[in-house]
Structure formats: structure tokens, C-alpha cells
Amino acid sequence: MKKTVRNLVILGVIIIIVLVFQPFYILQEGEQAVITRFGKIISVQTESGFKIKVPLVDNVVKYPNKILSWDGQAQRIPTKENQFIYVDPTSRWVIQDPAKFYETVNTVASAQYRLDDILDSTIRTIISENYLNEAVRSTNQINNMNVVETIQSVDDEQQAEYLRNLTSTTLKQETISTGRDALSNQMLTQAETFTQEFGIELEDIVIRQIRYSDDLTLSVYQRMIKERNQIAEAYRSYGRGRQATWEGKTENETKQILSGAYATSEQLRGKADATATDIYADAYSSDPEFFKFWRTLESYKKTIPQQNKILSTDMVYFDLLYTSLPTSLR
């Protein structure tokens, strides 16, 4: 009975000691720690697990042993050509030397402030030393690219080519020498010399976004609009031109067709007339006298009935009216 009570007391005391003095600590995965004794660093723990320390005397400062992110504010920075752009950077960093980190910045929060200072100024420096192109582009591939507008309902390849040239927007871009990646690396190298002082290693600095400043945006919009307008007008004008061409073609072909047909038809008629003339001449030339007589009579038949006539009886036809009967009948 007594023994049990005593055991319980001992157990309780041990538990209290453990709770109050904590002669051990647990370092989780993704954590590292600096152990100080009376303010002096005695060891650095990067391995996770169950650790022993001297209670009351040793102080454990835990830091993340992970990649941390630094989230920059978008800064308004002039580029080398003095265009104002917003650069929104972000960076990954690790506490590489916890002891140094403990000495110099002490907490993650204050490290963020240090990084703000270092990175902001680094980024500002690098960006303003370079042209906008260098920050935006990574390679020169843009100058080898040919964006082809898809053009339908154009009559032939030549016309399509013409239209493509007309609406082509492949303005040659300036050649860049460094590019975005290289700029990031420059920033990284430059910033690293400072961050090493704090036991911080930078994984990377990347530009999350580059954007024109607001007033610049407006003028870029204007330029884009004009560029599009120009192309739109090219299409319309081309369309009107083609329409005119078609109209001309129509007129041309109409006239050609009709006049050609006229020529052919007159030729046919002429030939026929000639043939007819030949036929007549051939036949009639055998007896011109009879032809004259015959043809005249034929002509009378056609012409005389058409006219108002006051005829004199002074014609052979009426001779009998005035002469006596033929002798045989008398």
C-alpha cells in the first residue's frame, strides 16, 4: 500500500520534472535547430528525431529546414530605355547555416525583411540596367517565328501570299543578349553575396509577372489598337480591290464575249451573202435578158401592191382595151 503511494509520487514528480524542465526535445522532419547554452551556440541540429538537452540551461531555437518562399511586392522600376514597368518577383530560399542565421537575423520574420531589402534593391538594379526586352524574353526565337494568318477564300496562292505580306505583323524584334533566365541568374548571384551573410541560400529569384505601368499600359493599348486597325483596313481594302478587279473582269469578259460573237455572226452572214450572190450570178448569167425580164416581174409583184397607184392605161397590158379584137377572132 505504502509502496504504491510512493511509486505514484515518484511517477508524478518525474512527470512534473519532464513537463517543467524538458530535458529533451523533438525535432520534426523539416525542422532544424540551434542550441544555445547561456546564449552561446553549442550545436546545430539538422537531423530530425528525439534529442536530449540540458534542462533550464540549454535553449532550443527551431528553424524550418525547408525551402521557404519570399513574396516580393510588385515594384515600379524604370528599364534602361526608361519605361516604367511593374516587376513582381518571388524567391525561394533556405536557411543554409542556422548558426549564422541565428546570429544575424534570428527569426524567419526578420529574415523576410532583410530579404525584402536585398532582393528589392537587387532586382531594381538589374532591371534598370537592362532593356525591357531582356526581362521579357528568354531567347531570340521570336525573330525566327512567322505567324501566318489563316486566310480563306482567296483565289490563288499568289493572292494569299500578297495578303499575308500586307497583314504581316512580324516586325523584327531587337536581338536580346541576356534574356530573362540570365537576368534571374544575375539577380541571384548579386543577391547571394548579401544573403550569405545571413546564412541564407537563395534557390532562385523568378519574375512572377512583368507588367507595364498604368499610363504606359494605355499607350501600349493604343499601339495595339492601331496595329489591329491597320490590319483590319488592309483586309477591307484588299476586299474592295478584289471586288473592283472582279467588276473589271466582268466588264472585260462581257465585252469580249459579245463582240466576239458579233464578229463571228457578221462573218457568217457575209459568207452566206457571198455564197448566195455566187449562186445567183451563176444561174442568171446564162441569160441576162430573161433574167432582167423575170426578175423585174418578180419585183413588181412585191413592190407595186404596197403603193397607192394611179395607173395610166398606157401599158401593154391595157393595149387590148384600145385595139380591136385579134384578126382570128374577128
Binding site: 521570336i142 486566310i151 472582279w246
Partner: protein, 348 residues
């Protein structure tokens, strides 16, 4: 906030520290207290030594903070009293992150950055134009251990890297290429680049797919101008078609007209020649007859002709006597019982 995706199995372990037994109460025997304490410990021990891992999850077990193992779905055991801790990570679930817009339903990523999301889709293209590009990233956690313990702010990291990669890719292309034929290339390249970066970080994430959604010029006048180009292409086609319409409405008609002219001329030709032939053959026939008896035939022809003339149209025929001895207009010489003939005959 840091670890959104696992549930901790350690909630009970604050209760597991046994309290020192109360000594003052004489009614309660220490044995009973011991019994209660032991029973409590057993209950808590049992409660904290089992945990459930869902089919969609894997669970990472840390023993005293150190990585022990990763276990799969089902009922799993661990050492109780917070010595083993389990972190369940949804490794089978494909998670979607959207950029430039947010869907209101589902488990979409909630941004904890200060930038608002209409801005994140605005980018500069290689020809220094502005474009509004929306996209999604689908990823799943491949290595739960890395996911949990290698990188802080994992989703934010994915978010940042994705934005940076997309900006970089778009920044290398002309605006029209981004809008048209380079879409797929961008998706493929972005996936590759993001995966490389995540592997470098040791994030334990596999990028499943990247899909570009809406790629448009900035809303407003610029978009209108882009639209206008499309309209202009339509206009162009309309103009051309109008021209063609004009052509098609006239040329076939003209061709018909031409054929008609030629056909008419051919008809004329045939007629002319045939007439000539007919005329000639008649003439020839008559001539033959004429040859045999010239006088008779000529007289006959003459009389027949005049007869035909006078009988064909008699309405305005006035006949005047050649001698004018008796002015006798024979107004209707062909009428039956013609007075003129009888009268004339009478005078002689």
C-alpha cells in the same frame, strides 16, 4: 495554415499525460487510483494507436519527429501517446489550380497572395504586347514525404512557379502565336518547365496537365480592335463575293447572248443560201420553158404578173385612160360586172 492537406492524428495526446494522483482523499484507495490511471492510459493508448487512411491518401508516419515510413490506405496502427504521428496526404487526388479566374465551387485553391487574380492573367508577350491569358494547372502529390517536409507554402510555390513559367513562355512569343498556333507548345513546355522546377525544389509533386483556357487581348478597346480584324476579314470576303456575284450574274448571260447571236447568224446564212438556191432553181426551170417558146412565155409571164398585182390589193388603185378622151377612172377593175370594162369596150 501551412499544412492544409493532412489531418493530424495527435489531437488526443494532451490528455495522455497522466496527472499526479490526489493524496488527500482517504476514501479512495491508491490502488483504485492506479487502476483508473492505467485504464485511462490503456483507453487512450488504444484510441491513439489506430488511424484510418482513405483510398485516395497515403500517410506519412513520423516517430518522435523522424520519418519512419509511408503507409497506404486502410486501418493502420502506430505507436500511441503521440510517439508516432501520422500525416495523411491525398496522393490520388488530382488538384486543380486556376489562374486568371476562380471557380466558386469545388476545392479550388484560395490565394493567399496580395495580388488579386484579374492581374495575374495579364502578361507581356515577346513583341511587347499585352495579353490576358487564363490557364489551369492540375497536379497531384507524388511523394507525400517530400510534399510535407521539403517545401514551405507548397500551393503558393506551385502557384508562383506556374505564373513565372507562363510569363516566361508567353514573353518569348509574339502575341498572335500565343493566341493561335503555339497554344499546345506552351502547354507542353510549361508542364516540362514546371516539373523541372518542382523536382529541383523536391516538392514531390507531379504536374498532370496544364491547359490554357481563355487567351484574349485585354478587355475593352483592344479586344474590340482584335474583333474588328475578324470582322474585316469577313468584310473582305463579302466584297470579294460581291465581285464574284457580279461576275457570275453577267458572264454566263453574256455567253448565252453570244451563242444566240452566232446561232441567229447561222440561221440567216442558211436562209440566205437556201433562198438563193430556191430562187435560182425556180428561175432555171422557168428559163428552160422560156427557151422553148420565148414569145408566148414572156407574154404569159407578163400578164400573169400584172394580174396578180392587180388582184392582190385593189383598195387604192386608180386607173387613168391614156388618151384622156374619156376620162374614165376604172376604180375597181377586178370587180365582177365591172362597168369600166364594158364601157370601155363599148366605146370602141
Amino acid at each position: 495554415m501551412a499544412f492544409n492537406f493532412y489531418t493530424s492524428g495527435e489531437d488526443n495526446n494532451n490528455n495522455s499525460n497522466p496527472r499526479p494522483p490526489k493524496q488527500g482523499n482517504v476514501n479512495v484507495s491508491p490502488k483504485l487510483i492506479m487502476g483508473i490511471i492505467i485504464a485511462l492510459l490503456v483507453v487512450i493508448g488504444i484510441l491513439t494507436s489506430f488511424f484510418v487512411v482513405d483510398q485516395t491518401e497515403q500517410s506519412v508516419i513520423l516517430r518522435l519527429g523522424k520519418y519512419q515510413k509511408t503507409v497506404g490506405p486502410g486501418l493502420q496502427t502506430k505507436i500511441p501517446f503521440g510517439i508516432d504521428k501520422n500525416y495523411n496526404v491525398p496522393t490520388q487526388v488530382v488538384q486543380t489550380m486556376t489562374f486568371g479566374y476562380r471557380t466558386t465551387s469545388g476545392q479550388t485553391f484560395t490565394t493567399n497572395t496580395s495580388t488579386d487574380y484579374t492581374n495575374e492573367s495579364i502578361m507581356l508577350t515577346g513583341d511587347l504586347n499585352i495579353i490576358d491569358l487564363e490557364w489551369i494547372v492540375q497536379y497531384k502529390i507524388e511523394d507525400p514525404y517530400k510534399w510535407l517536409f521539403k517545401v514551405n507554402d507548397q500551393t503558393k510555390t506551385i502557384h508562383d512557379v506556374s505564373r513565372s513559367v507562363m510569363n516566361q513562355l508567353v514573353g518569348d512569343l509574339p502575341i498572335l502565336a500565343v493566341m493561335t498556333n503555339e497554344r499546345t507548345t506552351i502547354e507542353i513546355e510549361a508542364q516540362k518547365m514546371m516539373q523541372t522546377t518542382f523536382d529541383r525544389y523536391g516538392l514531390g509533386v507531379k504536374v498532370v496537365t496544364i491547359k490554357l483556357q481563355n487567351i484574349v487581348p485585354p478587355v475593352g478597346d483592344v479586344q474590340d480592335a482584335f474583333e474588328d480584324v475578324n470582322k474585316a476579314i469577313q468584310d473582305m470576303n463579302r466584297y470579294i463575293n460581291e465581285g464574284k456575284e457580279d461576275y457570275n450574274s453577267k458572264i454566263p448571260a453574256a455567253q448565252g447572248e453570244a451563242e444566240k447571236m452566232i446561232l441567229v447568224a447561222e440561221g440567216y446564212s442558211a436562209e440566205r443560201v437556201n433562198n438563193a438556191k430556191g430562187d435560182v432553181s425556180r428561175f432555171t426551170s422557168v428559163q428552160k420553158a422560156y427557151e422553148t417558146s420565148k414569145d408566148i412565155t414572156s407574154t404569159r409571164l407578163y400578164i400573169e404578173t400584172l394580174e396578180e398585182i392587180f388582184t392582190s390589193d385593189t383598195s387604192n388603185l386608180t386607173l387613168v385612160d391614156k388618151n384622156l378622151e374619156n376620162f374614165l377612172p376604172i376604180s375597181n377593175i377586178t370587180a365582177p360586172n365591172s362597168t369600166a370594162v364594158t364601157t370601155n369596150g363599148g366605146t370602141n
